[in-house]
């Protein structure tokens, strides 16, 4: 299986396809929810920031909906056979929005910049030995060890390239230019009217001729979900990103004339929802109780009613969209009797459990209510805890819960987005993105570690299958749903979603049929 991967795409060839039908001009109004705290993608990687700043900043690569790397700032790249060297060839003639030329020095600077400010980047780059720029258009990354998922870490959200000429030698966090972000992307920042809208405009000097097509982008801030639905209905906005309206509205909106929807564009993230079950104490520390919970939950009902049929009931920790998924695992259908049996077997004494919902709107609240109802049907007493975002973070990070809703992104590879929730070295108080449930299985820890640096994909698959089987048996968390966030848009907006991160970098190619 040793071979040299070489991928070279000709930009011109890509442009040729369907260019005749594409129209330039127009203005597109999109919803961004909630309002991003900042647009400086190197410093802040919130969902909404990524969605807006993904048009301003670019990564070295993009990924299509099958999660295959595509050129972006790097027009081509090579990975050495042993997986120890990555070489990127950058596009020429790229300039920053302020007119300064872009070069490999910016990329090298970015790796330093992000080390300080980007946790996910920091984790991925812990496998990196060095980053060098042999010439202005080439970047060479040397690894400490082979790390399979590395090639999945170069999109704009994972590694946004930031301008060295602005940040070098300054205090990044207080740099005044953070308010007016400068990137290389297809759209330039114009204005941010806080609480109202963010206006981006076409970058006329974009290095790919003919792109982008749309003149102006308006990201509208509408804090109330119902009002967002109204905004779409009245035509004030044309694009509702996933999660912008409550699920109950999705059906109604998509049934309107001239409205299209797609659940594509989330493949890279593959949001996976579950409840952390506190493995340390209380009834949830008993495996039988956790299994009983799995049997008690009517996950199909929730998918159909709460999520309006969107999404998929997961089989285990790895999303079916993510690489190395396996469905050869123990199954947990909705079976209240089985749940009661398990509870009787463990001798559950009726200790009430607290369920902490995710404070992200009505859908999640309803979900918690449905879970409560399911659990009470098998005799588990449930109190729903309440907390806002800060409270939720505080409670989960400090393990102050019995059962807590969450969902996390998987970033295309179990090593990037899954392992962090199940290995013992990730049991660290103070953060809600690690092994919060407190699951410890030394044997599996070894397998996780081996799988991450295994260069052979078949062997990786084998290891991940074993891991999935064991974890599903142990039920450290109750997997609820592979979430799908349908993007709803007016059908005259074309080519909107072409990549695995969807709207986050999709507007480069989008155009509007007049």
């Amino acid at each position: 299986m040793k071979h040299l991967k070489l991928t070279t795409f000709l930009v011109a060839a890509m442009l040729a396809t369907g260019a005749a039908a594409q129209e330039d001009g127009g203005r597109l109004d999109l919803i961004v929810q909630p309002e991003p705290p900042s647009l400086m993608l190197g410093l802040v990687q919130n969902g909404p920031t990524q969605m807006v700043s993904g048009q301003i900043y670019e990564g070295l690569l993009r990924y299509n909906t099958d999660l295959e790397p595509q050129p972006s700032l790097a027009k081509s790249w090579e990975i050495a056979e042993d997986g120890m060297t990555y070489t990127f060839h950058l596009n020429e003639g790229v300039t920053w929005h302020d007119g300064e030329p872009f070069s490999s020095a910016d990329v090298v600077f970015t790796t330093k910049f992000l080390q300080d400010n980007h946790p996910r980047f920091r984790a991925a780059f812990s496998h990196v030995e060095s980053v060098e720029a042999p010439d202005a258009n080439t970047v060479v990354i040397k690894m400490k060890e082979p790390y399979g998922p590395f090639i999945n870490a170069f999109e704009a959200g994972s590694m946004p390239i930031v301008p060295a000429h602005i940040y070098e030698g300054t205090d990044y966090a207080t740099n005044e230019m953070n308010a007016t972000p400068i990137g290389t992307g297809p759209y330039k920042f114009v204005e941010w009217s806080k609480g109202s809208f963010i206006h981006l405009t076409k970058n006329p000097d974009y290095y790919i001729d003919g792109l982008p097509h749309i003149d102006d982008l308006y990201y509208r801030v509408v804090p109330d979900a119902a009002s967002r639905a109204v905004a779409f209905e009245t035509g004030e906005v044309s694009v509702l990103p996933g999660g912008a309206v409550e699920n109950w509205d999705v059906k109604r909106l998509t049934e309107m004339d001239g409205v299209c929807s797609t659940s594509a564009g989330w493949e890279f993230f593959a949001p996976h929802a579950w409840m952390w079950l506190n493995n340390r104490e209380g009834p949830t520390s008993d495996k039988r109780f956790r299994q009983a919970v799995m049997f008690a939950l009517d996950r199909e009902f929730v998918k159909d009613v709460v999520w309006n049929g969107f999404g998929k009931v997961p089989t285990g920790p790895v999303s079916s969209k993510t690489n190395f998924y396996s469905d050869d695992v123990p199954q947990y259908p909705h079976d209240p009797d089985k749940a009661k049996e398990l509870l009787a077997e463990m001798g559950y004494d009726g200790t009430p459990v607290r369920v902490l919902p995710l404070p992200y709107g009505e859908t999640w609240q309803r979900w918690a209510e449905a879970v409560k109802q399911n659990l009470e049907e098998v005799g588990i007493k449930v109190d729903i805890d309440s907390a806002d975002v800060a409270g939720w973070n505080e409670k989960t990070a400090n393990w102050d819960y019995d059962m807590a809703f969450t969902y996390l992104y998987q970033y295309g590879d179990p090593a990037l987005g899954v392992a962090r929730n199940y290995t013992a070295d990730q049991i660290k108080k103070g953060s809600p993105w690690n092994n919060v449930e407190g699951y410890e299985n030394p044997e599996l820890d070894k397998k996780w570690a081996a799988a991450a640096i295994e260069p052979d994909n078949a062997k990786r698959q084998e290891l991940y299958t074993e891991i999935q089987q064991q974890i599903v048996e142990d039920v450290p968390v109750a997997w609820l749903l592979e979430i799908e966030f349908p993007t709803i848009y007016r059908c005259n907006v074309k080519n909107l979603i072409t990549t695995g991160i969807g709207l986050n970098d999709g507007l480069r190619d989008a155009w509007i049929e007049q």
Partner: protein, 325 residues
């Protein structure tokens, strides 16, 4: 002279009140679970302890609480509301950016409710016991009992979605390129629904107050004097009854005008109005300490300013105040 002296006194008292509010709220906010670093990290979807620690150090949250309080009060005393690390901008700038929207909304709602409320109250009192009176009183009672947010939702549903007459949310047509007069008209259109729904409740309040006050004043001796002069009933009502009846309404209006800021949280949420009410609500969820405190201070300041304005208005209407002593 008396007015100037009083205003100076009021301002001094106001400054102390504001300082006390700053301190109280400082403790309140810090008592809430979580902190801005946790929220910010949480929203990133992935973070580690180092990131949170970095953020805390950057926000100054690694210091003991009393040091933070000392710094904050120090800032306040130099009229500096601090920096919003979350939004990467000075709090004052954030607030000033949003304040006009809130002021336009609340002041419009205030004037609509006051003028309409007084007019309806006068009309009802003039026909006391008759059908018109029952109609006005009944309607006001209904407004009084209707939750604000519910009225707002219904208004959007009817006037924006069903009829399409008015924009359902927002402050202005984004990117319209309107300037000057066109822009004003545009904002006005956006303003109608939120201002009306925010004003409804208060209109009911003022209406009831005006009506009761008119009826009470109408019983007073000087009204009899006016009638004994042979003045026409309309003149009596306008010149003698209304002016006196307005005094308690002015007091109430002054008290409530400040409270409109609180009511604006709901209205601004439903109508996506980019004002400070929403800024507060969002900052609260994000534990953006400085911003919440800033909004509280500014809204308390508005309450105080409204109270002072009320005092002045009261003095202008009522010659007795401030000269008696």
């Amino acid at each position: 002279m008396a007015i100037a002296g009083t205003i100076f006194g009021r301002l001094l008292k106001a400054a102390l009140t504001l300082l006390a509010i700053a301190v109280l709220n400082f403790f309140l906010i810090h008592a809430a679970p979580g902190d801005p670093a946790v929220v910010l990290a949480g929203e990133a979807g992935a973070a580690d302890e180092q990131m949170i620690a970095d953020l805390r150090a950057q926000f100054g949250l690694d210091q003991p609480l009393y040091v933070q309080l000392y710094r904050y009060v120090g800032n306040i005393l130099t009229l500096d509301l601090g920096y919003s690390f979350r939004q990467g901008a000075p709090v004052l700038d954030l607030i000033l950016e949003r304040l006009p929207a809130t002021l336009i909304l609340t002041l419009t709602a205030f004037w609509i409710s006051l003028l309409a409320g007084v007019a309806l109250g006068v009309a009802a009192s003039a026909r006391v016991g008759k059908f018109t009176d029952s109609l006005i009183t009944g309607t006001a009672l209904l407004f009084y009992a209707t939750p604000l947010y519910w009225a707002a939702l219904m208004a959007v549903l009817v006037f924006s979605v069903q009829l399409g007459w008015l924009p359902g949310f927002g402050y202005e047509t984004v990117g319209s390129g309107y300037g000057g007069f066109d822009r004003a008209i545009d904002i006005l259109k956006h303003l109608i629904l939120p201002a009306l729904t925010l004003g409804l409740f208060f209109m009911a309040v003022y209406m009831r107050m005006t009506r009761a006050s008119m009826l009470e004043v109408a019983q007073q001796d000087f009204v009899k004097t006016a009638r004994a002069k042979g003045l026409a009933p309309s003149v009596i009502r306008r010149r003698h009854i209304l002016r006196n009846a307005l005094l308690p309404v002015v007091t109430l209006a002054g008290l409530q005008a400040g409270q409109l800021v609180g009511g604006a949280v709901l209205t601004e949420t439903v109508f996506a109005w980019p004002g400070i009410g929403r800024l507060m609500f969002e900052s609260l969820a994000a534990r953006d300490y400085n911003t919440i405190l800033g909004v509280f201070l500014v809204s308390a300041l508005m309450v105080i300013i409204f109270n002072i304005i009320t005092d002045i208005v009261y003095r202008l209407i009522d010659p007795r105040i401030g000269q008696k002593a």
